[in-house]
């Protein structure tokens, strides 16, 4: 579905991604784990068209995406839930969700998806009119995910959805991710919480200083000694 070949990104003279190749297949949950500064967010921003690529190819559903802008990438069906949620704090919950459907014109479909987002996140339904900036961290994460779902993505990119949340909420968010995936949306998940991410991932890649150093199924990586030492705390 998503195929990245030898992707490089530079920030000035610093090379943040050094020839990354990875693949996400239809209906999968793929996890991308790695320490701070490994290039995980850079990779997602490159996929979403927020960053210029200095080399390599991105292909989505057989179409070349490397040179496309952020708008066309959303149109093609890739939506990102960015790190730190990046909801619009001065807009209401409902307006944030409408922003998610920005490129859609099918009013009836938007209404239907709005209802299903409210069903999936009942706490958002209770707070429709509330300003998004007044929500708790967990609610903001749900809003960011609901907002992304409003674009009806085929591939959902999630950047650190567990950041700053209590263990209980992290569990809830992860089971929602599994549920979204079960309903047919492919997921590429970036996480520092490697244990949780490998727990739900079909496959995973480990990124270190801009390169993929390991890949395998979620279970394989979770069992690997190197991974245990480096990312799972033992």
């Amino acid at each position: 579905m998503l195929k990245i070949t030898d992707l490089s990104v530079h920030y000035g003279v610093i090379q943040a991604l050094k020839g990354v190749s990875l693949e996400v297949r239809e209906k999968e949950i793929v996890a991308l784990i790695g320490a701070n500064g490994a290039g995980k967010t850079t990779l997602l921003h490159a996929i979403s068209g927020l960053l210029k690529k200095s080399g390599g190819e991105i292909e989505f559903l057989g179409q070349p995406m490397t040179k496309k802008n952020a708008r066309d990438i959303v149109k093609a069906g890739i939506t990102q839930v960015p790190e730190g949620r990046r909801i619009f704090p001065d807009m209401s919950v409902a307006e944030n969700l409408q922003m998610g459907a920005y490129l859609r014109k099918d009013k009836a479909g938007i209404e239907r998806d709005l209802e299903s987002v409210y069903q999936r996140f009942p706490r958002l339904a209770e707070r429709k009119k509330q300003l998004a900036g007044t929500l708790s961290g967990g609610e903001q994460q749900m809003l960011a995910m609901g907002r992304a779902l409003m674009a009806k993505p085929k591939l959902l990119l999630l950047d650190e959805p567990s950041m700053g949340l209590s263990p209980l909420l992290v569990k809830e968010i992860f089971s929602i991710i599994q549920d979204i995936n079960a309903q047919g949306t492919t997921v590429l998940l970036v996480e520092q919480n490697a244990k949780m991410a490998l727990g739900i991932a079909d496959r995973a890649y480990v990124l270190e200083t801009g390169s993929v150093v390991l890949s395998g199924t979620g279970a394989e990586l979770a069992a690997s000694e190197d991974i245990k030492k480096a990312y799972l705390g033992g």
Binding site: A70, P82, F88, Y102, A151
Partner: protein, 292 residues
């Protein structure tokens, strides 16, 4: 009391003009964090376009108003594309200096084309005096006030209720997050310039009508005062600019009415200094805390 009410009425007219200009300052600042010092000159161009439409083309007031707004919107968009867009990622001071350059360019071009002298703006709207218990209101003052309120309501509708308005608000808080929603950021910035410039153009026509005379440098002082009004209300905040504009206009007329018109400008600057010392974010501004 009569005198006070009279000054208040006069202040509302002047304040309407300041408020319309201040809105453009605040909207542009809100979306690209640029103090567009050429904005006062857009207002001047609005006055000249209104003058050409009425005095030379014989158009009526409302068609002149609409034409001036449309052309100013276009000019605003073109200026942004040519002068500011290439500097989107440059330091803020670079863009600011460019804005001052654009301001001089517009003033000098107008002087070249239209002459440096004062032009008399024709009386295209009936100006009857209405006496209300010793207070005199002219129909022009009523027109200025009503048009301003209508434009403000329209603006609020666009910003609050339409897709373009939502995109504008989204870009102004987080351009990258807006991009992730599929918002065309460049287009949204153009819309912002178009709307802000159209409002300034309207103010230009209204002021021509009110004071009867226009000149190529007429945008400088009202531009600065509208900027102060925007800062006073909280720059980047639309209701703040509306309130600030009316406030500065009323203060200015009250000072001229009761004290001396010699001090009316000084008082406005003093207000700026006070607000910067006491509440730098402006009256309606929030002190922004960075969340980590």
């Amino acid at each position: 009391m009569t005198q006070f009410l009279q000054q208040l009425i006069n202040g509302l007219s002047l304040g309407s003009i300041y408020a319309l200009i201040a809105l453009g300052y605040t909207m542009v600042y809100g979306i690209i964090k640029l103090i567009n010092f050429a904005h006062g000159d857009i207002y001047m161009l609005g006055a000249y376009i209104g003058f050409i439409c009425t005095a030379q083309l014989g158009m009526g007031f409302f068609s002149a108003l609409i034409t001036a707004m449309a052309l100013c919107a276009l000019i605003g968009v073109v200026i942004e594309r040519i002068a500011y867009k290439p500097l989107r990622n440059a330091t803020r001071i670079t863009a600011l200096i460019t804005a001052i350059g654009v301001s001089y360019f517009l003033e000098a071009s107008t002087q070249k084309v239209m002459g440096t002298g004062v032009k008399t703006f024709p009386q295209v709207l009936a100006n009857q005096k209405i006496m209300l218990g010793g207070v005199m209101i002219t129909t022009q003052q009523i027109a200025i006030f009503v048009i301003t309120i209508v434009l403000m309501l329209l603006l609020q509708y666009i910003v609050r209720k339409t897709k373009v308005g939502r995109a504008m608000r989204a870009v102004s808080v987080d351009a990258d997050a807006a991009r992730l929603m599929g918002v065309n950021v460049d287009m949204t910035i153009s819309y912002t310039f178009a709307i802000g410039s159209a409002l300034a153009g309207a103010a230009g026509v209204l002021v021509g009508l009110y004071y009867n005379s226009i000149n190529p440098l007429m945008g400088m002082l009202p531009g600065v005062k509208a900027f102060i009004a925007a800062v006073f209300g909280g720059i980047g905040i639309i209701p703040g600019a509306m309130f600030g504009g009316f406030f500065i206009g009323i203060v200015e007329t009250l000072v001229s009415g009761y004290g001396s018109s010699l001090y009316k400008d000084a008082v406005v600057y003093i207000i700026l200094i006070i607000i910067l010392v006491v509440k730098p974010a402006g009256l309606l501004g929030k002190n922004v805390k960075e969340k980590v």
